[in-house]
Symmetry: C2
Subunit: 259 residues, 2 copies
């Protein structure tokens, strides 16, 4: 089966918020040939919904603290509204999709994050991806669409970092397929100058990565994203691409991450 | 495959609202042997959520009118919160479940209800159930858990009557399995006297059904439920059972519907 290329695509929250760009992205995703998997974030939808419901969103170091109310909102918005709407839109584009969270078919099993300095609440760190179940869907020409929710072995739903969901799925599937990982987000890739969307660094290998870390060019949200990327490359994923919604059709400059 | 008995179980909204009874029901459901499918309503969760969000729920003749806001709430609560929580609870009980709406794997294709006297809004009438896809899950020992949401061929999500979802799934699956349909709700079955929960009519066949209709013993919500039942029996479903949450373990009196 290793002769087939599997594409695991993560779409970031800010792209989902922009209706036009999101629809373009789904068209491009739908047009991709071969087996593929979509992982989505949820952007501000959960925050907005929590606000409407009178729940306060607690953040520490740019990370959401997931209390019981937040988890409820995340399951409703990411696991329900956004996930099912993506599936329906893909069906409209002729792509047979299925919307999943980690509890479905025990697809993404996690462990609740231990409380150290910060109690992140109902947050999961992924332990195991059920690659057999996911490949059984792919073999039926069905496109799995994952919201970033995992589940413990004991059946507890947990909020999970979307980038990690994508990279862990890609890692697990790489034993069966040649696997490419795509991170689509609001920028054109990893930027040499954060203020200049044209300053895309086109290729990053391990030595370039260390250089960029030393020069503090990689900061904030890009830090865990690139850390995830190199972990995935070390664990079987062949190539990783970062870029905007046009990335899937290679219409624009983007960043390619290689070992 | 017809030697296998498939159980299609619908659980009503009011049972889901009662945490203790709901957990008991899930234990009983989890303990059922053989292939099985769960279909759930959502009870007052959608109405409560709509209220919290400041949306008004419009009812005509006891039926919810599904405007765009209501549909959003239904997808969030039934398709997200309730569906994923049921799946997680089943996983906790050792049952490998998957949460689906009609858009997932094109499992339940419907048509938007035509506007005649009443415009029901975003409401679907089922046209086709994807029995091949559902049986592929059953063959993997996975339990499909359906929220009462269907999808048009054009990819539009629609609110759908939960009893109809259950009976249409049972009808479609009856070409592959001997199929039994279970309606679990807050009463002990079809009652001869609505005020007396002990007055269960234990068996209803077609002539008894006509009699009960003539005597106006079957009224309100029981009318479409029994209409669905006899349609299902005429289309391949072998037996239908109606009763409370203990029905699955045959612990209490219940109603059996036969041709």
């Amino acid at each position: 089966m290793k002769d087939q290329v599997l594409k695991v695509v993560k779409i970031g929250g800010k792209l989902i918020e922009d209706k036009t760009k999101f629809q373009e992205f789904l068209k491009d995703f739908s047009a991709l040939g071969g087996p593929k998997i979509l992982v989505h974030g949820g952007g501000n939808f959960a925050t907005e919904m929590a606000l409407k419901l009178g729940y306060k969103t607690k953040m520490v170091d740019g990370r959401r603290i997931t209390d019981a109310d937040s988890l409820k909102v995340i399951i409703m918005t990411y696991g329900g509204l956004i996930n099912k709407n993506i599936v329906a839109k893909l069906q409209a584009l002729g792509s047979n999709a299925i919307g999943l969270c980690g509890a479905d078919g025990q697809s993404i099993i996690s462990k609740k994050r231990e409380v150290k300095e910060i109690d992140y609440g109902f947050v999961g760190d992924i332990e195991r991806v059920n690659s057999d179940f996911i490949s059984s869907l792919l073999n039926q020409q069905i496109i799995p669409v994952f919201s970033a929710i995992s589940c413990t072995k004991e059946g507890e739903l947990l909020n999970t970092n979307g980038d990690s969901v994508a990279s862990e799925i890609a890692r697990a599937m790489s034993s069966m397929y040649e696997t490419e990982l795509y991170y689509c987000f609001e920028k054109s890739g990893v930027l040499a100058n954060a203020a200049d969307n044209e300053s895309v660094i086109e290729t990053i290998d391990k030595s370039k990565y260390r250089e960029l870390l030393d020069e503090k060019i990689i900061t904030d949200g890009m830090l865990p994203k690139l850390h995830n990327c190199f972990q995935a490359l070390e664990n079987g994923v062949s190539t990783i691409f970062l870029g905007n919604s046009a990335l899937l059709q290679s219409k624009t400059k983007h960043t390619k991450i290689v070992q």
